[in-house]
Symmetry: C2
Subunit: 508 residues, 2 copies
Amino acid sequence: MAIGFSFQWLFLLCLVSSVPFSLSRITPRFPSSLISPEKVSVSTTTKLYKTSYFTQTLDHFNFLPQSYQTFQQRYLINDTFWGGAKTKAPIFVYTGNEGEIEWFAQNTGFMFETAPHFKALLVFLEHRFYGKSIPFGGDKEVAYSNTSTLGYLSSTQALADYATLIIDLKNNISAVDSPVVVFGGSYGGMLAAWFRLKYPHVAIGALASSSPILGFENLTSPYSFNNIVTQDFKSESENCYQVIKDSWQQIEDTAKTSKGINLLRKSFNLCKNYEYIGDYLESWLSTAFVYTAMTDYPTPSNFLNPLPAYPVKQMCKAIDNPKSGRNSNTFEKLYGAANIYYNYSGTATCFDLEDNSDPHGLSEWSWQACTEIILPTGGSTNQSIFPAYEWHYSDRASSCQRAFGIHPRRTWITTHFGGFGIERVLKRFGSNIIFFNGLRDPWSGGGVLKNISETIVAIVAKEGAHHVDLRFSTKEDPEWLKEVRKQEVRIIEGWISQYYHDLAHLSF
Amino acid sequence: MAIGFSFQWLFLLCLVSSVPFSLSRITPRFPSSLISPEKVSVSTTTKLYKTSYFTQTLDHFNFLPQSYQTFQQRYLINDTFWGGAKTKAPIFVYTGNEGEIEWFAQNTGFMFETAPHFKALLVFLEHRFYGKSIPFGGDKEVAYSNTSTLGYLSSTQALADYATLIIDLKNNISAVDSPVVVFGGSYGGMLAAWFRLKYPHVAIGALASSSPILGFENLTSPYSFNNIVTQDFKSESENCYQVIKDSWQQIEDTAKTSKGINLLRKSFNLCKNYEYIGDYLESWLSTAFVYTAMTDYPTPSNFLNPLPAYPVKQMCKAIDNPKSGRNSNTFEKLYGAANIYYNYSGTATCFDLEDNSDPHGLSEWSWQACTEIILPTGGSTNQSIFPAYEWHYSDRASSCQRAFGIHPRRTWITTHFGGFGIERVLKRFGSNIIFFNGLRDPWSGGGVLKNISETIVAIVAKEGAHHVDLRFSTKEDPEWLKEVRKQEVRIIEGWISQYYHDLAHLSF
């Protein structure tokens, strides 16, 4: 099977496709792109927060003439529940990921739902180079145009942005003594954890949800991600797993003849012909499987498209008990499964494998995945639900070279943020971090799954998917999920009361 | 007295003098410029270490085309005492300050003297833009020429250099499991403490000697520095203090006439005439008092010039019991005191107030003091041994504007490294830092003088001066100094044995 490259696309399809600055729908950006606006409709979001802008420094770490340039960083703020500066009421800050901050705010119900209890001010910080926080005059065309401008997009600059903005905001509202707790999911969770580690003087604690801070080379197997996807489907049905596993070769064989291409186009109800239909179709299907595994939530949700509760189970039902009956062929079964992900609302008339829409502004993740956030996820073993594929760093490096003309800094993240021997390093250093992971989430393989110390703790939900804890609650939420959120609230309460105690009793 | 500007020269004379890139001898760079090569002569230094170079990234935090440029970073290494990688023997790393690393190595006897006991590998890292670690092809003329090149000189880049180099070195010598302890004095001590806080996965602990990490605006009074100098002289003799305090007005009055200028030239044995002799002379004298206070060591030492043991006491003796007899005038007394600092060897034939020699390559400190390391030290109260002077940030800002055409980033250091509420922040976060301070040291006002937690501890020596603990021991060392060093060794032993225990018992 010549589909080597099509299965290392995770985070990278847009590079492989030689259209570096565009984004395909089938590019599974970063996990965070998966949190879903569930209960918050556009009509209600206007009440969720006010929008503000902060004049941010372009380059915190150098003092070159251009370092002093500034840009407008967007942040959202909600003071409905805040107890105010006088009572030193807490400030909950979301450390924005790689997309529009409004989308993350609308999908982080946990903060809104716990704010009344904590009397917390809510602040959502947008990550530089995303949404409306675009350097170089706010012009994406300029900012994204080449490495001389995009080069300022980095996690360390983003963290320094957050520290600078939070300190300034606290001064402006005379809330210097209000404790700050940071929250984030996925890449935003990595940023939350790293923020607590690098800026303990700014945030007293972090809830880092589904943050694969150990998902880097030589820390987590590059096969872990697809192993978990595989396990998710296998756990529903062995037949489901086997049908999907066997399908790739069939697609490829079928795509070799024009008759076969027609068959594929018809079977999958595609809007048009594709030159490399096999590769496109495999990416389109595998994207559906991966995204569905990540968002295998216990209640109906809505990411890019609506999904039912337990969508992996639903996909496997579509494969095991196809609507077209017992004699359905593989393509009919797969099409039924794909419809769960791509057409649960039932409104699609045909499918476009090249849909490049990017409603949440996630495109620049490719740059981050090519410079520093080198998360190896593309490897597949012989037992994988996907075709076997050996992960090589060199493949990523050459994709990035082609796309941006740059070399990834292969070891920078672990140099700067650590990861190796994390239990040894953090058992006696640092405090107040919750690492939540759901084991259905393919990213959980790179997460912190064991307690490190009394105050750096892991909450692991066997049945959980990607940052399910941060989502708005629903009446249908299972008990384990309610319990996870309660536990998180209890821990954060502990941080805050410890903080007030220390503030009153420590002298310098 | 119109000497306002001449008493805010601390760190800044070279700016005031409008020769931004030159360095006057009377510029008291940073405290670290004061550690003195005492026992190590040039002839023996060849045995102290081997010199190596590391290809270092110019800009760790951005991914611009120019960020990928590299330079050769110098480091010194001594494996004489090392127990080797197999036994996971420790690595002691000096986090170099603002000057030639050889000079710091030759003046950090504590590391050489404790290495045999710990079986430690010794490594001394040179700070970028100093010594031979010059970006832009190693050419100081290019690197120092303007803000477009000098802009890469920053503490955060230096710390990232250190992390990158240490990790690479450990990999290269297969010593990944060897614990690293970092050491530093003065600015190097600040870097050591910050390194432990930002890179706990690289260093298990830090000995930060005489590091004024709290010496920033709104954390430490800008009058603290001169208050301590004042107290040092007062503690020796009230008369000594008073003579010096009263002298400034006399110098200024005398400098108003040409007869007076001649008198000053003769009284202070100056090699030539100066247009603004009053200002120059006051700077020359105050430099002597400040440096002598900082290096008020209990044994003979040798900084830029040789000094006797307890040099403040010797200066006050020269004032209280002048050689020229009881009827000596103020200038004769001051000249006697100045001779302690400038001519203890007795070889000077006359004095040059404008000596611009910079044997240890400290010139670029001015840049750091104008960009981020804004340590306010120039204020003097009415009780000060120096003329009263109100410290204003705006004075520093306009000096820097004149000198480099840049604005200082006034709050960046505390934004990035913290400082406010340090006890509250670090009591339950971080571990394994020793803050040593000697209370005779004017910089001790910005130091951590109280224990923060069980493992972040302050060692305070009432009789101590600037990082006296790091100096080579002598037979004449007082008991308190021996005890300080013993205590430091005991604490470091504890870190290392805890590390080995954790390495053996922790699983991830």
